[in-house]
């Protein structure tokens, strides 16, 4: 599906990304973890075609998409909904940009996501968690088959956050799009992903790639299991060295 080959990027003198190579398979959920300022959002801007890499190429389903826009769907940290659009009109934005609007599918999806009551509401009437749900559905409904999620839950409180993670899995496990997910929360990465990519800092290089063995569908109990804690310890050790 997505492949980065030796992608490097500097801003002026400062090198941010150093020869990043990674791979996201069809229907795979891959997380990237690394401290703030390590260059994760920069990596997304490169994949999205907003920035030009100094070296390396980016491929999507075999096609070279380096410096090209419109091939991925995106969910930012702040929900970034359009305040003048209703929830329904908001989730259709991604489809609108690519041409065709599927009103029925959007309605079904919103209802399945527990947003059926707010279809005609405006964003300011929704709580933070609800807005993030809408932003996720918007990304999911966009026609592109790869979603980039940039710390989508980091602005939420701990309770809402766990709810959101379960909710996301329940929606996504039915849909099976590919996801590349940025976080700096180890629990979150472990609970959600098939694969975790650990970045180092200054410049960011891939430190280690961890295959997460937990079966799907996953539920909350996993978070407290012995196996989960062992994997968490393992990741913390990688990060510390």
């Amino acid at each position: 599906m997505l492949e980065l080959r030796h992608v490097s990027k500097s801003f002026g003198q400062k090198q941010v990304l150093q020869k990043i190579s990674l791979h996201v398979a069809n229907g795979e959920f891959v997380s990237v973890i690394g401290p703030s300022g390590s260059g994760k959002s920069t990596m997304f801007s490169l994949i999205g075609g907003l920035l030009e890499p100094d070296a390396g190429e980016i491929y999507l389903s075999g096609e070279n998409i380096t410096n090209k826009r419109g091939f991925i769907s995106y969910m930012p940290q702040q929900a970034s909904l359009f305040p003048w659009r209703t929830i329904m009109e908001n989730v259709l934005v991604g489809q609108e940009l690519q041409g065709k609007k599927d009103y029925e599918r959007a309605k079904t999806m919103l209802e399945r996501a527990g947003l059926g009551d707010v279809i005609h509401a405006y964003p300011h009437e929704l709580s933070g968690g609800m807005k993030q749900r809408v932003a996720f559905i918007r990304a999911l409904l966009s026609p592109q088959s790869l979603m980039l999620l940039d710390e989508p839950f980091s602005a939420l409180d701990e309770f809402t956050r766990t709810d959101m993670q379960k909710w996301l899995l329940s929606i996504w496990e039915d849909d099976e799009q590919s996801i590349l997910f940025i976080t700096h929360n180890i629990d979150e990465a472990l609970f959600l992903s098939d694969k975790i990519i650990i970045l180092s800092v200054n410049p960011a290089e891939i430190k280690e790639v961890i295959e997460v063995p937990f079966k799907r569908p996953r539920d909350e109990e996993l978070l407290l299991s012995e196996e989960f804690l062992q994997w968490k310890r393992r990741i913390m050790e990688v990060i510390q060295f």
Binding site: F44, S45, G48, G49, L50, R69, G70, F71, I72, S73, Y74, P76, Q78, S80, F82, P83, W84, R85, T86, V93, G94, E96, L97, Q98, Y122, H124, S142, L148
Partner: protein, 255 residues
């Protein structure tokens, strides 16, 4: 809703009544001549008798200011859009816009009359100019202040320049454009009346100069009050449109 409106408006309403009352009493008490300062009651009497002959003037001024307002709005929005989409052009011309915004447009009037004569055209040009600047400046401000996160989202999603403008920058600028429209609305009535002073067959400005030159001060007051009412009506109309267009806005967010 109704009671809250009453609660908010009774104070200013009372103040106006008090003001009119003092005015009435003062003119009688000091027996001020009517040609100098007519009492409110004199103005009402005058208004009743003069309104039928006044109506054509009123109609003419309203038509003039509405046309000027519409042309000024169109040109203002058009120019703002061009300047926004072409940064080079903006860098070149924006300083001139700011400078000319601070120039009293009415000083151009004699020149415009020399060039275009005493017909409607120089008047329309003056009103258009008066409306153009607040709208162009507010629209341009709205475009450039577009939320950066939303712009980033749109770019990540592959939006092209046209999509970015129509789906994000333009709707985002609507509240800002409306604040420009409200200023332009009041300017348009003022500019229409003043431009009529230069010479016209009809209009509140003409009616006013005629009344003033024959010291019919009550009539002048009638004209002033009507001009104020038109101006307020414009403002109210634009406010209503704003309510309709910005109904998505969080209450209390913009005030």
């Amino acid at each position: 809703m109704k009671t809250s409106l009453l609660k908010k408006t009774w104070r200013p309403f009372l103040a106006i009544l008090l003001f009119i009352g003092i005015w009435e009493v003062a003119t009688r008490l000091f027996s001020i001549e009517e040609w100098l300062l007519p009492a409110p009651s004199d103005i009402v009497v005058e208004a009743k008798s003069v309104i039928p002959t006044f109506l054509p003037h009123l109609q003419s001024t309203v038509t003039l200011s509405v046309s000027g307002f519409l042309i000024g709005t169109t040109v203002g929005l058009g120019v703002a859009t061009i300047l926004h989409l072409m940064p080079r052009v903006r860098e070149t011309f924006f300083p001139f816009i700011i400078i000319s915004q601070n120039m009293p447009i009415i000083v151009l009037a004699p020149l415009l009359v020399i060039w275009f004569g005493f017909n409607a055209l120089p008047k329309l040009i003056i009103i258009t100019l008066a409306c153009f600047f607040p709208i162009a400046v507010s629209a341009l401000g709205g475009f450039t202040q577009t939320n950066r996160e939303l712009v980033h989202y749109m770019k990540m999603m592959g939006a092209n320049k046209a999509q970015l403008f129509w789906k994000l920058e333009l709707p985002h600028a609507v509240p800002s454009i409306f604040s420009g429209l409200k200023i332009a609305g009041t300017y348009s009535v003022m500019a229409a009346v003043v431009s009529e002073w230069l010479g016209a067959q009809k209009g509140i400005g003409v009616f006013m100069t005629l009344a003033a030159s024959s010291y019919r001060t009550s009539r002048v007051f009638v004209a002033i009050i009507v001009a104020m009412i038109i101006s307020l009506a414009f403002y109210g109309l634009i406010l209503l449109l704003e309510k309709f267009f910005i109904r998505w806005q969080q209450k209390g967010e913009n005030n």
